[in-house]
Amino acid sequence: MTNSIDKIIEKYYAGETNQEEEKKLRTYLFSGQVSADHAYMRPLFKHFESERNMSIEFEPDLSFTSKRKTKVRNIWPKLISIAASFVILIAVAFSWFNNSDTMYKQKYTLLEDKADQEEALAITLDALGFLSKKFDKGTKPLVHIKDFERTDISKKNK
């Protein structure tokens, strides 16, 4: 046993041991039967073991892995709602223009009838007559301005 361990230790220091041999060496050094010659190796291997089992309280932040995907997921609903708003806006505008055009066309078509044209003319003349009447009524009081111009106050102001 000691002979084979000596060989392994020799190989270990030469940097030639394989993992199986190093495992054997570890088992030997951690057993209670280590020769005095090899005792100095025990703390060394214990140190390696303790370093290997060093407790690490560290959880890396892996949010960077989902960043790009989340971004795409967030953009789509927004894009869809913007597109939907545009479609609704265009539809409303189109129907409004279409409606007003039809109304205009309908009115225009009504006036194509001769009777309607005469009626429209009569209504227009009536309206103009009414406007003229009101205008005459509004200008009548202005006749008194000449009386005012003849007064002293008016002359003084000039």
Partner: protein
Amino acid sequence: MQIEEFNILVTDLKDKMYRIAFRVVRDHEEARDVVQDSLVKIWNKRELLENVDNKAAYCMTITRNMGIDKVRGRKMQTSDISERYDLQANIADPERIAVGKDEFEIIRAFIAKMPDNHKEVLELRDIEGYSYKEISSITGHSIDKVKVYLHRARMRIKEHFKTHAA
């Protein structure tokens, strides 16, 4: 590489990556940063990872290099190590060797004082248990060179601790 696969990789390797980062930067906070930055880098290059045979070695290489960059950025490594481990105080007092915890500190300090190549190869082999081939791929040294460095590192330890034990 999918997120699920990456998460498994992280769960398997984060502790090893942390230990490697810590051994390079010798500071817990910086080691965390190094691992975090390494994971971001690995994720950003995940297409490359598909063609890598040994993903663990690839991740360790990135972690190690990021750690080295961090140390270079710090520009205070050489004067720093002995202070961090209180090396002189520990080694000068042989009585402390008898106490287990101090013994670990002395060993750690001794290893920390070794040349970088020796120390790195020794830790990758004796602590992390990587094969020579994996160490070669992580460090970029040939397998023969890895064995030479390992031999020298182990001999240094033997000479020092055998003498102290005697």
